[in-house]
């Protein structure tokens, strides 16, 4: 459990951090360190340099507007879980953050760190897909927005460039909209507590029928997926148990190349995704009422 030798930088500003990333090939950004440091201790990750962004000011604010919420990338899971503003505007994030890791992880780990790491078993990516979040990244050439759907590229891979830093996550303040409900469910790995499968469901009701729905499944594949067939099947129906079950039965269609391991085979991940989608949609629909 001893890391290889590495250089360590602790810039005070974002510009300084970006410059350091440009200068040091193979440098990694260090935020909460709860994914990166264990990997380094196992010597799976051996970055030549770490750029610790933990002391950069202004990256951990939560700003809730009427339409959207902006969350600084350095916001810890504990801060997200406990945020009164988020509980009002976008409670699915509080629900998710409270289920993440353990107390120590929640106190140190950050939303931006989790998203930039893009672990298939992480919770936030699935929720961001369902929320159609926007990630804002800062690089040498300035700021750019990346939609959640385009942010996650592959296993542990995002659209972020080596010298870009994720700064802000923007999500809809859906609870300010009429009749919107959300729900995140996870099946925890009994050892790691990571999501074997995580399901995020957003349901909006119009006159008692499902007006819009977004359903994302994480953990089954290298990146979380939107379940469009299931969504289409539900739109326009009343959110009855039968209608939701019929929609959830189509979740499997979205899961290409499911992952498999000692704890859960591909078949079982699809089973979990289907059952949990049904349950998450039901809860989201109830919360929408």
């Amino acid at each position: 459990m001893y890391t290889p030798t590495f250089d360590y930088y602790r810039p005070k500003t974002l510009d300084e951090a970006i410059a350091l990333l440009g200068k040091n090939k193979g440098a990694k950004v260090l935020a909460g360190g709860h994914s990166l440091l264990p990997a380094m201790k196992l010597r799976v990750a051996q970055p030549a340099a770490l750029v610790d962004i933990g002391r950069i000011k202004g990256l951990s604010a939560i700003k809730a507007g009427k339409k959207e919420v902006k969350i600084g990338a350095l916001t810890t899971h504990a801060a997200v879980a406990a945020s009164a503003e988020l509980a009002k505007a976008c409670p699915i994030l509080c629900e998710t953050a409270a289920m993440l890791g353990d107390t120590q992880v929640r106190n140190r780990g950050t939303m931006g760190g989790s998203l930039a790491h893009a672990d298939p078993a992480a919770d936030y990516p699935t929720v961001m897909i369902a929320l159609e979040a926007t990630m804002t990244a800062m690089g040498k050439k300035g700021e750019r927005d990346i939609s959640a759907g385009k942010f996650f590229k592959d296993l542990l891979t995002t659209a972020l460039k080596a010298d870009e830093i994720l700064t802000t996550i923007t999500v809809p303040a859906y609870r300010n909209f009429p009749n919107m409900g959300g729900c995140y469910l996870k099946h925890r790995h009994p050892a790691s507590s990571y999501a074997v499968v995580g399901v995020a469901a957003m349901v909006g009701l119009v006159d008692g029928k499902v007006g819009r729905v977004s359903l994302a499944v994480g953990g089954a594949t290298v990146n979380p997926v939107r379940c469009s067939a299931a969504e289409s099947a539900l739109v326009g129906s009343a959110p009855t148990d039968d209608a939701i079950a019929a929609a959830a039965a189509k979740v499997a269609e979205a899961i290409a190349n499911p992952m498999s391991d000692l704890y859960a085979t591909a078949d079982y991940r699809i089973r979990l995704a289907t059952v949990m989608a049904k349950r998450a949609l039901m809860t989201a629909a109830q919360r929408a009422m």
């Binding site: 459990m1 001893y2 890391t3 290889p4 030798t5 196992l42 010597r43 099946h187 790995h189 009994p190 050892a191 790691s192 507590s193 990571y194 000692l262 704890y263 859960a264 085979t265 079982y268 089973r271 979990l272 059952v275």
Partner: protein, 783 residues
């Protein structure tokens, strides 16, 4: 009479542990200390072609690099086996291997450096050229023809075979049976997961040629003996072994490990203090592991549920090398328990101990006894279902009646005491068993999968009468020592050969001494773990500390009381037989005249001033006793659990858990409850989540805590515990072991509960751990 024994005193060691003030091996830092790291095999099985240490040796900060051959040339010996069943083959095990690597984690070389970081970097620079070989990891497949050979010294991979019981009576029982239950089962491999990983620090004094070794051991005296006589060659009087605060062992810290040989060897070689601390991954790939049986078993019954025969054949995975006590576990602590709580004549069990390309297997909490309980209680449960008898009723039908103790089983043991009927009365009442069954019937109507699991288990704890152990293959005796030193002011220090690594001996033993001598517990200090202070002691495992170590303390106390009486008789000018030693107050007086008493402190002081002692009585006030137990003790338990299985996903949720245990007389109910509850949690871990899994190449798939699932607190409801006390007649305290009973009973209780939940679907048996996917697949298969 007892003032402190039987009371729930808070553990006096806890303030230092919960404030991070414990003194563990890894906390030790000595001037000029160097750091050791081990190069380990990434292969399950491979021949070592070449080891190149040049690059590592050149790294700045590296002091030296050694291979297995360097150690042998430097005089280290082979690791011995301490339990030799007849005709056993114990293949060669060097501290670092020289010819082949036989499991992932097998050590091939070591580096000592100025820092732990440099040592880790240097380990990566050691180049080992391997020729990969086919591996075998399964206990039974290892014994099949054509299996890869782990050691040339055992070409069939069989280390030993063993059998016990009355084979003819067993065969007769099956011939005349009304009903036979047959079951093949696997008791899966477990990885002991103590909070503190193993560690060693060694300091060589070149001037006096003394070695001090701090090591995380459950039994420092035997480790010193093995180091002196077999592996390191430093004589016992020049070798001090200290096992300070140890953060959990569960059996895995009993054994003699290569690192506690290598660390002092290197310390002497470089003439500097050396420290080695295991990483968690090293713990998973080098600490001796638990269970790992493949078993075919069957039970013969009459139609009324009377059990007439039990027939067992087991292949026990011993791993790549024979660990210190490995052959004991599946023989004298497993097959000898096949009678369970039941009066059965026709019992026969046989065992094949096989060598495989896996981490060695040895004692792990329960050690053989959970494996025995699991198979007996699974068989009884299946029999109950097939014969349509309530699972508690079938058990009651077969209990050894309470008036038949001591009871001789057909598999060697003589059970001491018990009242299994009362045990089940209590658990049925506490759990409201009839209501649980009624609730279950209601829930089933609604399509819910509710299960009620029952198990009744026996344990043999407190090893062991030394002569009996010797006749079964032990190389050592299993007595325990205690030295009680009373200071001139009457304060007491207890030097015990037992070792605490979570058990709370400092509290419990003080309670015993307080009542034996009539002093306050706070005036008693318990010292353990340092061979320079304690008499030779056998250490702690097999739930033996209170029944064997505690009994030694009682006997030493009796010697002190006898001496106190002699001094008091002299000073009070009375005959010894006219005196009363009041164990509540520590005062000695002439019967009927309590006002004219000598206090304990006065007598202690008198023993040291020696101004006025009876003629011929030696001064001083300390006594030692080596206590060899007359028998094991036999704790027993009745547990009931209620579970719900998620019909859609197969997830198991424990809704209720009630445990009633008979661990004999209880010294500290708070500590015993903690032991029982902790044991239950560990047992549930085997039932639901834990599995040390290998692939066919010998890769351990669960080498970190990201994959290996120890139970989490949120899996449990409040565990309800109750007790009945039948005193063991085998020791002066009437105690039985309490440390393992929870683990022994919980695994099969939960397995039975899950199978009970799934019974309406026709599911008969699922191998552990009962993960959601396995349960769900079994449910699908049954449709």
């Amino acid at each position: 009479m007892a003032k402190y024994v039987g009371t729930s005193m808070k553990r006096r060691e806890d303030p230092r542990f919960i404030q991070g003030k414990g003194g563990y091996v890894a906390n030790i830092s000595l001037p000029n200390m160097a750091y050791l790291a081990i190069k380990r095999s990434p292969y399950g099985h491979a021949r070592i072609k070449k080891i190149n240490t040049k690059k590592a040796a050149k790294l700045p900060g590296v002091i030296a690099v050694f291979t297995g051959q360097d150690l042998i040339d430097g005089g280290v010996g082979k690791l011995p086996c301490g339990w030799n069943v007849p005709n056993i083959k114990v293949p060669t095990r060097w501290p670092l291997t020289i010819d082949k690597v036989r499991h992932v984690g097998d050590g091939v070389a070591c580096v000592v450096a100025e820092s732990a970081y440099i040592a880790a970097d240097a380990v990566d620079l050691i180049e080992v050229e391997y020729e990969s070989l086919p591996a075998v990891t399964d206990a039974k497949q290892a014994a099949e023809k054509g299996a890869p050979v782990v050691h040339d010294e055992a070409p069939d991979n069989v280390s030993y075979t063993w059998g016990i019981g009355d084979k003819a009576a067993m065969e007769e029982a099956f011939k005349t049976a009304d009903h036979i239950v047959q079951l093949d089962l696997v008791n899966q491999r477990l990885i002991p997961t103590a909070m503190e990983p193993r560690a060693a620090v060694a300091q060589w004094n070149a001037a006096t040629e003394d070695m001090t070794l701090w090591t995380t051991s459950q039994n420092p005296s035997p480790i010193r003996l093995l180091l002196s006589a077999f592996t390191l060659g430093i004589p016992e009087h020049k070798l001090r072994v200290i096992s300070p605060d140890v953060g959990g062992g569960f059996g895995s810290k009993i054994f003699h490990y290569p690192e506690e040989i290598i660390t002092p060897w290197v310390a002497r070689k470089i003439n500097r203090p050396v420290k080695w601390v295991s990483t968690r991954t090293e713990a998973s790939t080098t600490d001796s592991q638990g269970r790992d049986h493949v078993t075919h078993c069957r039970m013969a019954l009459k139609n009324d549920g009377t059990i007439t025969g039990i027939d067992v054949k087991t292949w026990s995975n011993q791993g790549a090398y024979i660990s210190t006590f490995a052959p004991l576990i599946p023989t004298a602590l497993y097959l000898t328990l096949l009678s369970g709580l039941y009066k059965v004549k026709g019992i026969w069990g046989e065992m094949v101990g096989t060598l495989t390309n896996t981490v060695p297997v040895d004692a792990y909490r329960g050690a053989g006894r959970p494996e025995a309980s699991y198979l007996i209680e699974r068989l009884v449960d299946i029999a109950a279902r097939e014969l349509k008898i309530d699972p508690i009723e079938i058990r009651r039908k077969n209990f050894i009646p309470k008036n038949e103790f001591p009871y001789q089983t057909p598999v060697a043991f003589v059970y001491d005491s018990g009242d299994y009927g009362a045990l089940f009365d209590k658990v049925e009442q506490m759990a409201n068993y009839k209501q649980l069954r009624a609730d279950q019937a209601e829930a089933r109507k609604k399509g819910k999968l509710i299960g009620v699991g029952v198990a009744g288990c026996i344990e043999a704890s407190g090893p062991a009468p030394s002569a009996v152990a010797g006749s079964l293959g032990s190389a050592v005796g299993f007595w325990e020592s205690a030295k009680l030193r009373v200071h001139p002011t009457g304060k007491v220090q207890v030097y015990t050969g037992s070792h605490a690594h979570g058990q709370g001996h400092e509290t419990t033993f003080a309670q015993v001494v307080a009542d034996e001598l009539g002093v306050k517990p706070e005036d008693v200090e318990v010292v353990h773990g340092d061979t320079a202070q304690i008499p030779f002691g056998m250490g702690t495992y097999g739930s033996r500390s209170i029944s064997v170590g505690g009994s030694a303390i009682v006997r030493a106390s009796e010697k002190l009381r006898a001496k106190a009486l002699k001094i008091a008789a002299h000073q009070l000018e009375a005959a010894e037989e006219d005196l009363v030693y009041d164990q509540e107050t520590g005062k000695v007086y002439v019967k009927g005249s309590p006002n004219k008493a000598k206090a304990f402190g006065e007598l202690a002081f008198a023993a040291y001033t020696a101004h006025n002692l009876p003629a011929g009585l030696e001064p001083g006030f300390e006594e030692t006793h080596f206590y060899d137990p007359a028998n094991f003790t036999f704790p027993n338990s009745a547990h009931i659990a209620q579970v719900e299985v998620d019909a859609d996903t197969g997830e198991v949720k424990i809704q209720k858990y009630v445990a009633v245990d008979d661990v004999g007389k209880v010294i500290n109910p708070l500590i015993v409850e903690g032991q029982i509850v902790g044991g239950i949690v560990q047992g549930v871990g085997q039932a639901l989540t834990e599995h040390g899994a290998y692939d066919e190449h010998g890769q351990l798939l669960t080498a970190t805590l990201m994959e290996y699932a120890v139970p989490h607190a949120d899996m449990f409801p409040m565990i309800e515990t109750g007790r009945i006390e039948t005193a063991s007649p085998h020791n002066p305290l009437g105690v039985k072991g309490a440390g393992e009973m929870g683990t022994i009973a919980a695994t099969v209780t939960i397995a039975n509960a899950v199978m009970d939940a799934l019974a309406p679907l026709g599911v008969r048996h699922i191998e552990m751990p009962l993960t959601p996917e396995k349960v769900w697949k079994a449910m699908q298969g049954s449709k």
